[in-house]
């Protein structure tokens, strides 16, 4: 069955865009995850990935066309199950009108890019058409160049292409540029495993690839320091109960996590040395606390963001979390809703996990891992009493944050939770 390929909305405000460049041509076989085209919006150039498998039978919008409306059909794909249709007579690809330019100086066609990514390892880079500098950077960063489209003379891969790939300029570019990094599969991941054990091969989703890449990056590049405190929850639970009574009429029910999000944000504002991003020779000191909330979804994990959580009432945080989590589970979050954030929170209390260490989500510099609130013997006034206590571990990027600052952070957080009226003040 032919599938209509429609102009995608690459940002929430996008209404139309420019079809900057086709990365496939008619007759090409594409599979899920392959790059089909480059689309320019008013903000950035982004890549459009295939979702379906099949053969591109027809390209309906020429590259370079401006003002293509979101939802307009731009190409047709013949599904793989169908009897392969006789390939349509391939229309002469619009040649550059100056095809006869010998162009010794600067001109060269930019269309001869390898559109089909090949599975290969880093050794293949030697045979890739790339500048020595591009190859060097690729080796340093463990990047596979075989699927990179070069923009240099005669499709040569140049430094700019590799940097775009490695997301080195991620602070300066649009968030969607980050996803170019999806193509950067680290050397460690591209190995094949030979085994006799009965198994099935499960193709990685893009989300899984992103998780793999980002967590590997984090653990390889970010020196983590872990600081754990026990926090007494009784006062917070009491306050939550009282608040929920008064919020019931509005149909809002605060969770402990909603309150911890607010506590985390307030702590970040009070200990600004922990609300940072390490960036080479600089550090970004954020003036706002945007909290990424880890949400488990069937395909993996995603972190929708509560923007400026320190200045939002608990009721608002609660409704936002519920709404974002629901859309996350449906896979309907927009990139700006999950890319960014200044710190993260991951809560495994509902699974009964007592305590754990979370992996920092770069370029953020800290993440809070929240364990289960449980009744424990607790010393109150030199006597053993029973209290509801949870263990919380902060993971900090030690390049940016000193141990003492991290400790101060945990102390402030503990005080805020144990004397929780600060959360509603």
């Amino acid at each position: 069955m032919p599938i209509e390929l429609k102009m995608p909305a690459l940002s929430p405000t996008m209404e139309e865009g420019t079809l900057a460049r086709w990365l496939v041509k008619e007759g090409d076989k594409v599979s899920s995850g392959d790059l089909l085209a480059e689309i320019e919006t008013d903000k950035a150039t982004m890549e459009f990935e295939a979702v379906d498998e099949g053969i591109v039978t027809q390209i309906l919008v020429d590259e370079g066309t401006d003002g293509v409306k979101v939802g307009a059909v731009i190409a047709m794909i013949q599904g793989e199950d169908d009897a392969a249709p006789a390939p349509k007579a391939v229309a002469a690809p619009t040649p550059a009108p100056v095809a006869d330019i010998p162009a010794p100086v600067v001109s060269s066609p930019v269309n001869d890019v390898p559109a089909q990514p090949k599975k290969t390892d880093l050794a293949e880079n030697d045979r890739v058409k790339a500048s020595p500098l591009a190859k060097r950077i690729a080796v340093n960063k463990g990047l596979d160049l075989t699927s990179v489209a070069g923009t240099g003379p005669n499709g040569r891969i140049v430094k700019a292409d590799v940097e775009a790939l490695s997301g080195e300029e991620r602070r300066a570019v649009a968030p969607a540029e980050l996803d170019r990094g999806l193509r950067a599969v680290t050397a460690a991941v591209t190995q094949t495993i030979d085994t006799d054990i009965p198994h099935e091969v499960v193709k990685l989703s893009n989300m899984r690839k992103t998780i793999a890449r980002r967590l590997t990056e984090s653990k390889q590049q970010v020196p983590h320091i872990y600081l754990t405190v026990d926090v007494r929850l009784d006062a917070l639970l009491k306050l939550r109960g009282e608040l929920n009574v008064s919020l019931e009429s509005r149909g809002i029910k605060l969770s402990v996590n909603d309150m911890l999000i607010k506590a985390l944000a307030l702590t970040l504002m009070q200990v600004p040395k922990c609300n940072v991003s390490f960036a080479g020779d600089n550090m970004l000191q954020y003036n706002r606390a945007d909290i990424s909330v880890a949400v488990s979804v069937p395909t993996g994990l995603i972190t929708p963001i509560i923007v400026d959580a320190a200045n939002k009432p608990l009721s608002k945080i609660s409704t936002e979390v519920a709404e974002l989590a629901a859309r996350a589970k449906d896979g309907k979050l927009q990139p700006h809703e999950y890319q960014g954030g200044t710190a993260s929170i991951s809560n495994m209390g509902m699974m009964g996990i007592k305590q754990f260490d979370a992996v920092i989500n770069p370029p953020q510099a800290m993440i809070l891992a929240v364990g289960a609130g449980e009744k424990r013997p607790y010393i109150v006034d030199d006597a053993i009493a029973i209290a509801t206590v949870m263990s919380v571990t902060g993971s900090f990027d030690h390049r940016a944050i000193d141990g003492a600052d991290g400790a101060m952070f945990m102390k402030v957080f503990k005080e805020l939770v144990e004397k929780p009226l600060g959360l509603v003040a």
Binding site: A96, S107, P109, R136
Partner: protein, 463 residues
Amino acid sequence: MSNYDLIVLGSGPGGYVAAIRAAQLGLKVAIVERENLGGICLNWGCIPTKALLRSAEIYHYMQHAGDYGLTAANISADIDAVVKRSRGVAKQLNQGVTHLMKKNKITVHMGDGKLLAANRLSVSKDGKTEELTAKNIILATGARARDLPFAPADGKRIWTYRHAMVPSEMPKKLLVIGSGAIGIEFASFYNDMGAEVTVVEMLHRIVPVEDADVSAFLEKALTKQGMNIMTGAGVESLKATASGVSASIKGKDGKVIASEFTHCIVAIGIVPNTENIGLEALGVEMDRGFLKTDANCRTNVPGLWAIGDVTAPPWLAHKASHEGVIAAETIAGGHPHAMDPKNIPGCTYCHPQVASVGLTEAKAKEAGYDVKVGNFPFLGNGKAIALGEAEGFIKTVFDAKTGELLGAHMVGAEVTELIQGYTIGKTAELVEADFMHTVFPHPTLSEMMHESVLGAYGKMLHM
């Protein structure tokens, strides 16, 4: 009324090259010029100054003939003859451009061009006006010398580069204001020709866009040649008198001293030629007086393009020419590669010469690079010693992480002819290993380029 695919306004090294490239690609092209084909570069800039400097150089060698075991007696300089030679060189090249226009079937309209619309302009000469239309127009009107606000050039005592190129008499005591490429070249020329030269630079070092090591070396070398260099200094007032100019100069120490000179050259920068060409009515976007363009030289007005000194820096002839090619190929429907400003070399033809490409060491560090620096002196090069030019050095700056050549900085004999080697390397994105693997011919000055790279990685051989 004639109709063209492309009209180029201005025939300097940007404009005439754009016209040739467009004509080669089959476009019907016209070029409009108000004065001389070839523009400032060929008639009043790059080329005639090199002719002057060559005379100064030979004069210098003759004065030092003894260093080479030769005797030269009764040496003297005839400034009129030197200028005449320079004008002859300019004329020859001007005719060369005329020939190139004819060969490429480019129609030349002499006169003042003015945009009437994005695709229409008028050319006026001697009271007659004709109108031309074109699908595309490239603005390549260039720039001119910036005047001191309190003492505009009069051509008699207070000169711009243009007056300095055709002196009616040899200045005895010369004040040069500004130590960029133009200021330093004229200072060097007149110093070699025997004038007593003072250079005043507002910033704390001369040739301030160059690497700090180059500035320091050049200042020392020029001072040794007898030049008086005042950095961190400013000219407070300047007045032409019957016999010369009187200037009060505020020195580094804040003290103002009054000095008398016979002549003064003002070289404090350039002003783009954007007036009276009809830009205002079209709403062409500018940035600090210069035309704003994209990577392919488009202005914000469709069909209207701009290249060279009338656009963003660097204001160099070779940058203009390269933009001319990019604009012409884009107009013809091609996809030329954008130019990387970090790969545009710069040359200053003082004595010793200065040449550079890419980032200075300080700029590289500022940009966050962890750098490896190599520096090889002329004193360690056989050819330099044989030439009697053992003064200077070649410095290279690499990114320690990737081996990328971030910048190269040279001062010494003939370095302006050497810098292209590093420029090719940078453009092709070679890394340190490629430079190391290259076999440099012996005996040449270029061997120092090799040694400098080796030095950056602790492998220098001859020092």
